[in-house]
Structures are given as C-alpha cells and as structure tokens.
C-alpha cells in the first residue's frame, strides 16, 4: 500500500505544480494593455536597432506601447491587408502604392530615407568599384560573379529587381551565380560574405554588419551615391473601413508622431559606430 500512496503523492505534487504555473501564466496574460499598437515593418528597421531605440521614446511621449513584427516589405503589407496589424512601416514605393490603391492603407506619410549600397569582396572580381549602379549590375551579370539576392519580395529585393531592369539585364533566376537566399538582410549579407559575392543592401544594415564584424567585414561598399539608390520609408495606417477592429486611432497617432519635429530629431540622432543610419524627411 505504501508504494501506491507515494506514487500518487508524486503525481499529485506534479499536477499541483503544473496547475500553479498554469494559473500564474493565465493571470499574467489576462490583462491586455489598452494602448498597444501593432506594426508590421521591414527587417532593416529592426536589425539596425532603430525600433528598440524609438519604442521607449514613443511610450514616454504618448503612452503607446509599440509591438512590431519584422518581416520583408511584401509580408508586412500582406499582414496589413489581412488586418493583422494596425500600421505598417515599409520601404517599397511601388508595392505601397498598390496597397493604398486597393484601399487597404490610408494616409501614407514619408518618414525617413537612407540609401542602398552595393557590397562586394575587396578583391572585386567583376571590377565594379566606383562605377555607376547600372554599369555595376551589368558587369556582375556579364562576369557571372556571385550575387546574393533576398528573393523575398522585401523592399530591398524589389529595389534590386528595378536595378536589374534599369541595367538592361534580364531578371536572373536559375543562373548559377545568382544566389536567392529567401532570408533577411543580414543573413543575406553573411551569405554573400561567405561566398565572396556581391549584394545590395540598405546602408543601415551594412553599418550594423560592419559593427558585428568588428570593423573588418568580408564584403565592403563598392558602389554608392547613385540617385536610383535612394531608399524611402513610409508609415501607412491600415484602413479601418477594411478591418473594423484595427486600431486606427493609435496608428494615426503613431504616424503623426513619427513625422513630428520631435521624433524626426530622434531619428536623426540614432547612430551606430558614430554614423547616422536614417535621414528624416517628413513633409
């Protein structure tokens, strides 16, 4: 009898512990914060740490708690279309335009920009250093130098596709030199670095990458400063007429705040390794 008793006791103890933990878990979940704003954004604003820096300031200024999901621009807009987030912060003018034309988003506002740069190994086998973007992309395709692409419909990927088109190169797909990673920006730069290839990135993510590699990165900036390399970020609240339960009020507040003088100065002051990552340009 004694044996059965202690078996029971052991299991009851285990069950008791499980119940207590469960109770604690559901209690702490039970109180949703009223002022929570959900945003879908691109990997670049998250990987660079910009949002980690802005979120506490937003909380202090307006009492809004920002929760964000960092995905590519394509996925971010899809989350907006499905009404799974209240607002998006993205960087692809073309897909943003159709997002607004389809009335999923309302009242877009430009927030800031940085620029894209073309990275490659210092050895530069395709010889693109200092060339224009068009020439650089042509040379990479001609020399069949390895090129890592996000290939995920992110803002950077869409920009890359525009650049191939502008350079008169048919969109690469199955070519051996064209590496479609399907991953985030830093992963893709890492892959380019490992393969000694070229890659298009936003400057902010490159500065982060450089910092990660303690100032000695396997790939460096080879092409920069071209007009077609500008990378514009916009904030777009999700249309409450499409999804009644999105929090439009808070989304509009965020949009106003991001484009206010105060937040614009905060964005300008966000630096990594002493370098400014994003340039505010709200109108």
């Amino acid at each position: 009898m004694k044996k059965i008793f202690s078996v029971k006791k052991g299991f009851i103890a285990l069950l008791g512990v499980a119940m207590i933990v469960l109770a604690l878990a559901s209690a702490s979940l039970g109180a949703p914060d009223a002022a929570v704003l959900r945003m879908a954004t691109t990997t670049s604003t998250d990987n660079t740490g910009l949002l980690d820096y802005l979120a506490p300031i937003l909380k202090a200024d307006l009492g809004i708690e920002l929760q964000w999901v960092a995905v590519g621009t394509g996925k971010a807009l899809e989350l907006g279309r499905n009404g799974d987030v209240d607002v998006v912060l993205t960087h692809d003018p073309e897909s943003e335009k159709s997002f607004i034309d389809e009335e999923y988003g309302v009242d877009p506002k430009q927030v800031m920009y940085n620029d894209f740069v073309v990275l490659g190994p210092a050895s530069d086998q395709a010889g693109v250093k200092g060339k224009s973007v068009n020439d650089a992309f042509k040379l990479i395709a001609d020399k069949q130098a390895p090129f890592a692409s996000r290939a995920d419909k992110s803002g950077t990927h869409m920009a890359e596709l525009r650049l191939w088109k502008a350079a008169g190169v048919p969109e690469p797909d199955k070519e051996n030199w064209y590496i479609q990673t399907g991953q985030g920006m830093l992963d893709t730069i890492n892959i380019a670095g490992e393969r000694g290839g070229y890659v298009l990135t936003d400057r902010g993510t490159f500065i982060t990458y450089e910092a990660n590699n303690k100032g000695n990165p396997p790939v460096v900036i080879l092409v920069e400063g071209d007009d077609s390399l500008k990378n514009q970020y916009s904030v777009i609240p999700v249309n409450p007429k499409k999804h009644a339960n999105v929090n439009y009020e808070l989304a509009a507040k965020l949009s106003d705040w991001l484009t206010s003088k105060k937040a614009q100065d905060d964005i300008a002051n966000f630096k990594m390794e002493g370098k400014q990552l994003f340039f505010p340009n709200a109108k």
Partner: protein
Amino acid sequence: MNYITEGFFQAIGLILSMDEETWQAVGVTVRLTVMSMAATLSVGLPLGFLLGYFDFPGKRGAHMVVDTLLALPTVVVGLVVYAFISNRGPLGDLRLLFTIRGMAIGQTILALPIVIALTANAVECLDGRLRMTLATLGAGGWRMAATSLRECRFALMAAAVTAYGRVVAEVGVSMMLGGNIKWHTRTITTAITLETGKGDFALGIALGILLLAISFALNAGLSFLKRRADA
C-alpha cells in the same frame, strides 16, 4: 571560431546577470510550453488511451493517421493555424494572432500526435495477462483502466517528455503565430533566430545553452519524482 567559446562564456554571463531581455524570452518559453503541454496532455492522454485500450473498427487506420501526423512540419502547422486565426480568417475575431495563446494552439496541434501515438503504444504493450488477472479479481471497467494506466506511467511520462522536446525546440510555429515580438511573444528559439539573423552568433549559442539547461532542470525534476515514486 572564437564565437563558439565566446558563446559559452556569454551563456554563463547571461544566466548569472539575469539580463532582462533574456529572462523575458525564458518566461515566454516557459508560459508557452506549460500552456501547450497542459492542453496536449489533457486531450492526448485520454485519446491515446482510447486508441490503445479498445478494439474498434478502423483502429489500424486511426493508428496510421496518427503516425503520419508525427511528421507534421512546424511551418505547415503555423501556416494552417495562421489562416484560421488571422483577422481575415474564420477565428479572426478572437484576436489570437501574435499572442501566446495563439502560439499554444499551434504547438498543441504539433505535440498531440506524439502523445496520442506513444500513449496508445504504451497501453497496447501492457501484458495482456494483467487485464485477465484484474478481471478474475473482479475489477470493473474503470478500475481496470486506471490500473492499466498506472502500470504504464513511466511510458506516459516518456511520451510527455518527448512532446515537450518537440514544442520547446520548435521555431516555425512560434515565429509565424507569435511574430517574435519583443517583450511579448519572443521565445528562446525565435530569439536565437533573430540573433543569428543579426549576426550575433555568440548570443545565439548562449541562448541555445540556456534552453538546454531549462530542459535539463525539468528532466532532473521528473527523474527525482520517478525515484520517489519507485521508493
């Protein structure tokens, strides 16, 4: 190569320094696994018992379905549950997407086949003579079922530990349904994905070591209970 040793020391540092972000991810992981395991066990154990204990037409078919579901990919579970709980989906009004509860639903679906299959096997493997002995002793249906369950308690524990291993280590469901939102739905595994994406390999390794440490503590606790139960 440095980042491997660096990761190891960083792990110790993270555990000792009680870094807030890390502990938040640990907290989410623990809450999430407790919720999904509670749901999995309360549904899976009875179903598994029914499947193993009783003979019914279509039993072999049911077995085959459950065994096939053992191979469910996490991203498929994530995708299907997403389709249901997205604001656009049939359960959108419950606002479960990007919450721990939503993630727990996905993990429960992932873990259920494991618990059902292993429970059914454990019950089936019981010595047939046990049932006969009990019957001759005059035990009724409930009594017989309860005794059978107690006889295979360690196999059931193994089923639970295996299911726990699957949910605590998965990243697909947590990433798709939780969204890796800092302070809210970031688990240890999604944090590892993020740190790897950011290029911070050392921190990723550190978090991995921490996850294993938690699982070790849990198994040590179970082993302690088992020894006491045996004594």
